[in-house]
């Protein structure tokens, strides 16, 4: 089944639950509201779609989406100095909800894929319904998204941290969590035990994040403008 065909079928079946349906790069992405997620998942799991395998669940934090650290429209005399953190340029600001959960499903029987995106309505307390009872494989993926982003999956049987250390505080993959972390650990000879302290190193940006409007849509060079030869 082609992606277009699949997209039409899914739309026909679940018309009122789909907020948005996009085909890009031959991949079908549908956006559904958080309250419809379970219903949509159940429909996709069963015939005629048969999405029998859950491939992935991925949390996304859109806090810094479209925000670059360096912007040049004309020549400057001042380069990009290391250790920047305050120079933030907003080009196309994200106005949607902050957190999203992205599901990838695969149908082994019919050989097609789909991606579902669900936005969490409340930014301060993101939550989504769990799909562990529909696909048991969701268990650890949801634990991971909870651990790294702090997204709570309602109805998950065992929502514990999975990747971070015992007793870890915070959700490290959120965009406002510093790359180097918030605490560092060392052995203290006087107290004769491991102690945690606030990090002592400054965060640095080696290569600034740049959004190039002109370069964004790249096309392979046509014969006439071939350079480099």
């Amino acid at each position: 089944m082609s992606t277009v065909q699949l997209s039409e079928d899914v739309y026909r079946e679940l018309k009122d639950k789909i907020a948005k349906s996009v085909i890009a790069l031959d991949e079908l992405t549908i956006t559904v509201r958080a309250e419809d997620l379970r219903e949509v998942c159940l429909a996709l799991k069963n015939p005629p779609f048969d999405f029998d395998t859950l491939i992935d669940i991925c949390g996304v934090d859109y806090l810094h989406y479209g925000i670059s650290e360096w912007h040049t429209t004309s020549a400057t005399t001042k380069g990009f100095s290391r250790a920047v953190s305050d120079r933030i340029i907003k080009s196309n600001i994200w106005d949607g909800p902050r957190f999203a959960v992205v599901y990838h499903f695969l149908s082994v029987t019919q050989n097609h894929r789909i991606r579902i995106r669900v936005f969490c309505e409340v930014d301060d307390a993101p939550q989504v319904d769990s799909v562990t009872d529909i696909w048991p494989a969701a268990n650890w993926f949801e634990r991971e998204a909870f651990d790294l982003f702090g997204i709570v999956f309602n109805g998950h049987p065992d929502l514990r941290r999975i990747l971070t250390d015992y007793g870890f505080i915070g959700h490290p993959f959120r965009k406002n969590f510093p790359l180097i972390g918030e605490v560092e650990m060392r052995y203290d000879a006087a107290q004769r035990r491991c102690i945690y302290e606030p990090v002592s190193i400054q965060p640095r940006t080696l290569v600034p994040k740049v959004i190039r409007e002109k370069n964004v849509h790249a096309h392979p060079l046509s014969e006439g403008e071939k350079s480099g030869e």
Binding site: D52, R115, W135, L163, V216
Partner: protein, 417 residues
């Protein structure tokens, strides 16, 4: 009657059979497993977050370090995601080189798995044999990229460089007789392709050797037959892919079903198991060794006949040739931009998956139009497999946990990321 109490047993995180740093909390009733809780994350390096702070090309090296026994397959998924989002197709020769090295990687991975699996169950010899062959394949890695393991060889738009015409040779050493060195250099006289071809000629016989040691071995069968059975329905529900799914009898292989690189030109079979136990998974992987060997042979034939470029000539994404940079200003600028700022990808998202030796290895890339990924999610093949360990082990003996765990082919680099 005396009161009976279940034991809670800790396994790992430092244990030779834990395949890295896995901690298992096992609730046992005598020798029987009642419940099992894997604690993972002891090798978590936040690769995904690190990648968000670096230009795209600088993260290729991190991909090698995910599943550190099948390096190039990880790179393949990552560069495919970038190529998909950017809209660039690598030259056909690069596709064949990637296919060949993916299969070399698969053999390397399965050899390590075979050796480790056997040693976990108590057969020492296979490990030594498997590592002997692995050494040759690592030499191929070294010849082509300069590194024995973490190659960073695949780049968006192709591969870093063409296959070398000369295979590096052993040098004279005070610790080895010259006759010995001559013998070691015997199959290294020609090009890299000659060396790999020699390997593919020898390899089926070597797989027979491993099979002689294991396949009909009574102890091996006692330890693996009917251990950790997963039904096909359950395997799908638990998100299994790769040899784990095929071991349960579902003929699913991305190389065939959703072909990438040059796999649609390749002639190979997909082995499947019947019962879905440890023994079936062993048979599936051993057969994959033979099939990979077949694919490598076909790639060698094609690569010999078809010279050509191995990197796209789109200098917005791939660095220009050194020679052109000396005389062309434009090329110089492209080089400078690529190595300082990198390239920007169009806003959007892409998911690219490859048939990794362990299953489906996918990279989900979200770009906001910058020179760094906005979000990079790595779908590790082993992650859902390990998540199912609890279910697979329930009711089995403690010793079977080790057999089941190693039949899953777990590597913590990719599970913890």
């Amino acid at each position: 009657m005396s009161e009976l109490r279940n034991y809670t047993l800790n396994f790992g995180p430092q244990h030779p059979a834990a395949h890295g740093v896995l901690r298992l909390i096992m609730e046992v009733d005598g020798e029987q497993i009642l419940r099992l809780d894997p604690h993972i994350g002891l090798l978590h390096r936040a690769t995904e977050k690190l990648a968000e702070t670096k230009p795209y090309n600088q993260s290729i090296g991190y991909m090698d370090r995910l599943d550190y026994v099948s390096m190039m397959c990880n790179e393949h998924a990552y560069v495919r995601a970038i190529e998909k989002l950017y809209g660039v197709t690598p030259p056909i020769r690069a596709q064949y080189i990637r296919t060949m090295f993916d299969e070399i990687t698969r053999i390397m991975n399965h050899l390590l798995w075979l050796g480790a699996h056997a040693i976990d169950i108590g057969a020492m010899t296979v490990f030594l044999y498997a590592f002997r062959e692995r050494e040759d394949l690592m030499d191929c890695y070294e010849a082509v990229s300069g590194a024995r393991m973490h190659a960073t060889y695949y780049r968006p738009g192709g591969v870093y460089r063409d296959l070398p015409d000369k295979m590096p040779q052993y040098e004279a050493s005070p610790y080895k007789k010259s006759a010995e060195i001559e013998k070691m250099n015997e199959n290294r006289q020609g090009s890299l392709l000659d060396f790999i071809e020699d390997f593919t000629r020898r390899f089926p016989g070597l797989v027979d050797e491993y099979e002689t040691l294991l396949t009909d071995n009574r102890i091996w069968k006692q330890r693996t037959v009917n251990i950790g059975i997963v039904s096909p329905e359950r395997a799908l529900a638990l998100g299994f892919t790769g040899p784990m799914l095929r071991g349960s009898g579902i003929a699913w292989d991305l190389r065939r079903k959703q072909p990438y690189a040059a796999y649609d030109q390749m002639d190979f079979e997909i082995p499947i198991g019947k019962t879905g136990d440890c023994y079936d998974r062993y048979l599936v992987r051993v057969e994959e060794l033979r099939q990979s060997n077949r694919i490598i042979k076909q790639c060698i034939d094609w690569l010999r006949k078809n010279p050509g470029p191995v990197m796209t000539d789109n200098t917005k994404i791939a660095p220009p040739k050194r020679v052109t940079m000396k005389k062309d200003m434009e090329a110089m600028i492209h080089h400078f931009k690529l190595f300082t700022e990198g390239y920007t990808l169009p806003e959007g998202e892409a998911y690219a998956a490859v048939e990794h030796p362990k299953g489906e290895f996918g990279v989900y890339l979200v770009s906001d139009g910058a020179n760094k990924p906005y979000r990079l999610k790595i779908r590790a093949a082993g992650f859902p497999h390990l998540a199912a360990l609890d279910e697979m082990c329930r009711g089995h003996m403690i010793a079977d946990v080790v057999a089941i765990l190693s039949s899953q082919d777990i590597v913590f680099g990719e599970i913890d990321r």
